[in-house]
C-alpha cells in the first residue's frame, strides 16, 4: 500500500484544519472499511489520514434529553444495530445497520462513513431518510445542520465542503405507533451489498384519509438514496390492497436505477415494486395486530 501519514486530532478545530491543509489530500478516517480498500487499489492517494475517532462525541450513541437519537459519526454499525434504545424506538435503523456485511466488519464500519461515502446502496441511509434524520457538520465556518435528504448530491458526493466533517446524525423520535421494515435484496441472503433496498415506515394518522401516514425510502436505485414521495402520498390516501399496489408502482416509478454488474435497471425497478408492496403489507399487518 502506498505510504501515508496518520494523525489523530483531539479537537474538531484541529481536524478541520488538517483536512484543509493538505489540498484535498487529507482524508477523514473512521472505520476505514472503505477508505483503506480504495487506497490499496490505487483509487485514492492521500498524504495523510485524519483519524476522527478521538474527537469529542464521535463514538457515542445516545438518546438526548429532547428524545432525539444522536449517533456520533464514528459510531460503528454494530453499536447502532445492537443499541437497546435503537432496537426499541428506531428498529428500522437497527435493521438497516445490521444488514451491512459481516459482524466483524460492522465492528469497524461506521454510520458516518456509510453516509459520507454516499453510495446509493448505503444501507443506513433509507432508514435514516424515513426517520427524517439530520446531519450535523463542523467546518471552518463553524457548525451547520442539513436534513439528510439534502446531504447526498450524487454517487460519492455530499454537501461536505473542503475542511468540513460530519460530526453526528440526529434522529427524531418516530410518530406514536410507527412500524418500520427494511427489505434488502442482495445476491446472497445475508452480508451482500444491496441490489435494491426499500425502507418502509408507517404510523396511525387519523388526519389522513387512509388512517395512516408513510415514509418510504429506496436504496441502490438512483444516484443517491431517495424518498418515494408519491408512493407515500398515495398510501396516505388509500392503504387498501389496491392502494398498496398503486403505491408500489409509484415507488417503482420514482426509481432511476442503472444496469450494473449486480442487476439490470429493469430488474431493480420491478423489485422496488415488489419490496415496497411486501414492506407495506408487513407494516400494515403489524399495525393491525398492535
Amino acid at each position: 500500500m502506498q505510504p501515508f501519514d496518520y494523525v489523530k486530532p483531539k479537537t474538531l478545530e484541529e481536524a478541520s484544519a488538517l483536512l484543509l491543509q493538505h489540498n484535498g489530500q487529507a482524508r477523514p478516517f473512521a472505520g476505514c472499511t472503505d477508505l483503506l480498500i480504495r487506497i490499496e487499489r490505487g483509487f485514492l492517494h492521500p498524504d495523510v489520514v485524519v483519524d476522527i475517532k478521538a474527537l469529542p462525541g464521535m463514538r457515542e450513541v445516545a438518546v438526548q434529553p429532547d428524545g432525539h437519537l444522536r449517533i456520533g459519526a464514528a459510531a460503528t454499525m454494530n453499536q447502532v444495530a445492537l443499541h437497546p434504545a435503537v432496537l426499541e424506538r428506531w428498529p428500522l435503523l437497527a435493521e438497516g445497520c445490521a444488514s451491512v456485511a459481516s459482524y466483524q466488519l460492522r465492528n469497524r464500519a461506521t454510520v458516518g462513513g456509510n453516509l459520507c461515502n454516499a453510495s446509493p446502496a448505503a444501507d443506513s441511509a433509507p432508514a435514516l431518510l424515513c426517520y427524517e434524520a439530520v446531519a450535523h457538520i463542523f467546518g471552518p465556518a463553524g457548525q451547520r445542520s442539513v436534513p439528510l435528504e439534502q446531504f447526498f448530491l450524487g454517487p460519492g458526493k455530499t454537501v461536505l465542503e473542503r475542511g468540513e466533517l460530519l460530526t453526528a446524525i440526529t434522529v427524531p423520535p418516530p410518530a406514536p405507533g410507527a412500524v418500520g421494515h427494511f427489505l434488502k435484496l442482495g445476491r446472497t441472503a445475508v452480508g451482500d451489498i444491496s441490489v435494491v433496498s426499500v425502507a418502509v415506515l408507517g404510523w396511525p394518522d387519523l388526519g389522513a384519509p387512509s388512517g395512516t401516514s408513510w415514509h418510504i425510502a429506496l436504496g441502490a436505485v438512483a444516484p443517491t438514496p431517495i424518498r418515494a414521495a408519491e408512493a407515500e402520498r398515495l398510501l396516505g390516501q388509500d392503504a387498501s390492497p389496491a392502494g398498496v399496489e398503486a403505491a408500489s408502482r409509484a415507488a417503482a416509478a420514482a426509481a432511476r436505477p442503472i444496469d450494473d454488474i449486480r442487476a439490470s435497471a429493469a430488474y431493480r425497478t420491478d423489485m422496488v415494486r415488489v419490496l415496497t408492496r411486501r414492506g407495506v403489507e408487513r407494516v400494515l399487518a403489524e399495525m393491525r395486530a398492535s
Partner: protein, 160 residues
C-alpha cells in the same frame, strides 16, 4: 511516518514502532511473526485475517497497526489457554471442519467470538455469524457442526 505503540497480543505486551500505512495484519504477521492470522482478500470480505480487538472480532486487514495502540489483541495463537485448545478448536479438529486450513484461523476467531456473545446459537445464527468468513474447501457443513458442538461442550463445561 513512524509511530511508537504499546499493545498486548495474546496477553503479552509489545512496545514497537509501526509505519502509518501498515495494517494490523501486517504488523502481526511481519513484525511479531504471528503468521497464524492469514491475508486473504485484503478487503474485509473473506475473514481470514479476523482477530479479536478488545474482545470483539475485526478484520485486521482493515485496521491500521497504529490504531492498535493501547488495545488488546487476541490472534488464533492465543485462543488456547494453558495448552488446552478452546472448545471450537477441539471440535473443528474432531469434526473435520478444516481442509486446506487457510480460512481456519479466521473461522476459529469468528466462531469463538460468536459463542462468547451467543452461547447457544441456532444454525441460522451460526450461518449469519460466519457470513464474513469464506471457506472454499469444506462447503461449511462441518464448520457449522463444529460450532454447534463447541456450543454444547462450552455449556457442559459451564454446568460442571
Amino acid at each position: 511516518m513512524r509511530h511508537e505503540i504499546s499493545f498486548t497480543v495474546n496477553g503479552e505486551r509489545y512496545d514497537i514502532t509501526v509505519q502509518s500505512h501498515h495494517t494490523l495484519l501486517q504488523v502481526l504477521r511481519e513484525q511479531l511473526v504471528l503468521t497464524g492470522t492469514k491475508n486473504g482478500c485484503s478487503e474485509g470480505e473473506c475473514g481470514a485475517c479476523t482477530v479479536l480487538m478488545d474482545g470483539e472480532p475485526v478484520n485486521s486487514c482493515l485496521v491500521l497497526g497504529v490504531e492498535a495502540d493501547g488495545h488488546e489483541i487476541i490472534t488464533v495463537e492465543g485462543l488456547a489457554t494453558d495448552g488446552h485448545l478452546a472448545p471450537i478448536q477441539r471440535t473443528m479438529v474432531e469434526l473435520g471442519g478444516t481442509q486446506c486450513g487457510f480460512c481456519t484461523p479466521g473461522i476459529l476467531i469468528a466462531a469463538h467470538a460468536l459463542l462468547q456473545r451467543n452461547p447457544n446459537p441456532s444454525e441460522q445464527e451460526i450461518r449469519e455469524g460466519l457470513v464474513g468468513n469464506l471457506c472454499r474447501c469444506t462447503g461449511y457443513m462441518r464448520i457449522i457442526a463444529a460450532v454447534r458442538e463447541a456450543a454444547r461442550l462450552q455449556q457442559a463445561d459451564t454446568l460442571n
